[in-house]
């Protein structure tokens, strides 16, 4: 665990504390390099690239767009429902979201 924590603080984007999960999804779904992925996500969120790694700004942005945050806040998106919103915002397919839609038999 010392390894993961050290990298997270030394060089990681911060995951759902910031926009790390969103930038990671662009690498995974579109094969984007880091700069392109950050610019794409910043454009979709209408923030600067520098804002993407700032937990204070991103907490507000994620809250406003209801993309899921570190704290599990009642009545706001979290887990799979946050991923529905992330897929829509980023214009990407998220595998488990698509399977969820199939299971409930609806097209959103």
């Amino acid at each position: 665990m010392g390894m993961a924590i050290t990298h997270s603080i030394a060089s990681g984007m911060g995951g759902v504390r910031t926009a790390g999960d969103l930038v990671g999804r662009m690498q995974m779904t579109r094969g984007m390099k880091i700069r392109e992925a950050k610019e794409y996500v910043a454009g979709k969120l209408r923030v600067s690239v520098a804002d993407l790694s700032d937990p204070v700004t991103m907490a507000e942005v994620r809250g406003d767009l209801d993309l899921g945050r570190v704290r599990s806040i009642p009545k706001f998106s979290k887990g799979i429902d946050a991923k529905f919103r992330i897929a829509e915002l980023l214009g990407i397919e998220i595998n488990c979201v698509n399977l969820f839609k199939q299971r409930v038999g609806r097209k959103f």
Partner: protein, 348 residues
């Protein structure tokens, strides 16, 4: 004379003079350059590394704006392997909410596809539930681990016993059969996990059993990407050098034995890999400065020459980090910052 406190590749503390540190950085990059037939680091890059190692702080980090994406191997194992009584779904939530992981990975504790095949239902069940309560992208990961296909653990004659007897043809035949079975297992397990929602599959520590191991991962990737073009496949290596345990295996007409990271990456790209992870082994009797300079030199051409996102392996004993059970943050943070800021890669 000013002494710089640093560590050896086995993690033990040592100190060096400024000139000793500079010499180790130069020797580290020259070692990689000579072995990999790649450019050594420039003077500016060596100066940046020197400043990272001269910084007296316990912990260093990248400059704002240089942050990258973290992917993991055995991510959710790391907590319960400490003896902490948590399950994998708890661990996903801890890594997401407490550690700030950008992505996360899960896998079976045995961490090889052959072992997972027999308990795939339980793996599917837990992954499906984890995906409901998490937001970050999730990989399912394991090693090709061709070693477990050899007797006494597996069905095929053991090449490590045949080779010393001079039975080279038999050893090669056994490895070729193991590749076929490993590919079937990797495709079968990856398919099962992807079909319950995994965001990606991580072929980790690829090449650990040499060129047949690497070939199995490349072939499995190609089959999976033909089946599911949208699937993210991350392929992480085990070493900077593909060992020629067979010696004659090829992929796309390229002999696998002896390939260094920049050529491993090209084949990964051809197979359809989405994210490539070069691994550079640490040498325990050399300093961390030597190891970091060497690792960074090997990774840099992958970033410059490839179209794929590059996530270098910087776990214990790779990427310039020491081989130590409890990784010291001073050494790991220096390796982390150096790898990101010199190579400009996409993730770790």
């Amino acid at each position: 004379m000013k002494k710089i406190v640093t560590r050896m590749g086995d993690g033990y503390l040592t100190d060096m003079t400024e000139s000793e540190l500079k010499k180790d950085l130069e020797n580290g990059t020259m070692d990689a350059s000579a072995k990999g037939k790649i450019p050594s680091l420039s003077e500016d890059e060596l100066r940046h590394l020197y400043e990272i190692f001269c910084n007296p702080s316990r912990f260093v980090s990248v400059e704002p704006g240089n942050e990258i994406i973290l992917s993991f191997d055995g991510g959710t194992h790391k907590i319960y392997r400490l003896g902490v009584n948590t399950g994998r779904i708890h661990n996903f939530q801890l890594m997401e909410r407490a550690i700030g992981a950008d992505t996360m990975e899960t896998g079976h504790l045995d961490y090889c596809f052959k072992a997972v095949k027999t308990l795939i239902f339980e793996e599917q069940q837990e992954l499906e539930q984890a995906l409901l309560v998490t937001m970050l992208p999730i990989f399912y990961g394991a090693m090709p681990n061709l070693g477990v296909y050899s007797q006494p653990d597996g069905p095929f004659p053991n090449p490590a016993e045949l080779l010393p007897q001079g039975k080279i043809k038999e050893a090669r035949a056994a490895q070729e059969e193991a590749v076929e079975m490993a590919v079937r297992d990797m495709v079968s397990v990856a398919t099962s996990l992807y079909e319950v929602g995994a965001d990606g599959i991580n072929f980790d520590t690829t090449g650990a059993a040499g060129d047949p191991d690497f070939l199995a991962a490349l072939r499995a990737t190609r089959i999976l990407k033909e089946k599911y073009p949208e699937m993210c496949v991350e392929l992480g290596m085990s070493s900077e050098f593909v060992l020629g345990m067979h010696g004659e295996l090829e992929f796309e007409g390229v002999r696998l034995a002896g390939l260094y990271p920049q050529d491993q990456m090209k084949l990964a790209e051809k197979a359809g890999v989405t994210i490539f992870g070069p691994a550079i082994n640490s040498v325990t009797n050399k300093s961390c400065a030597w190891n970091v300079a060497r690792a960074v030199t090997f990774v840099k051409p992958c970033v410059e020459r490839g179209k794929l996102p590059i996530h270098a392996n910087i776990g214990m004993g790779v990427g310039g980090t020491p081989v130590a059970e409890y990784p010291p943050a001073d050494a790991v943070s220096r390796a982390s910052k150096a790898m990101v800021e010199i190579t400009r890669l996409d993730g770790l």
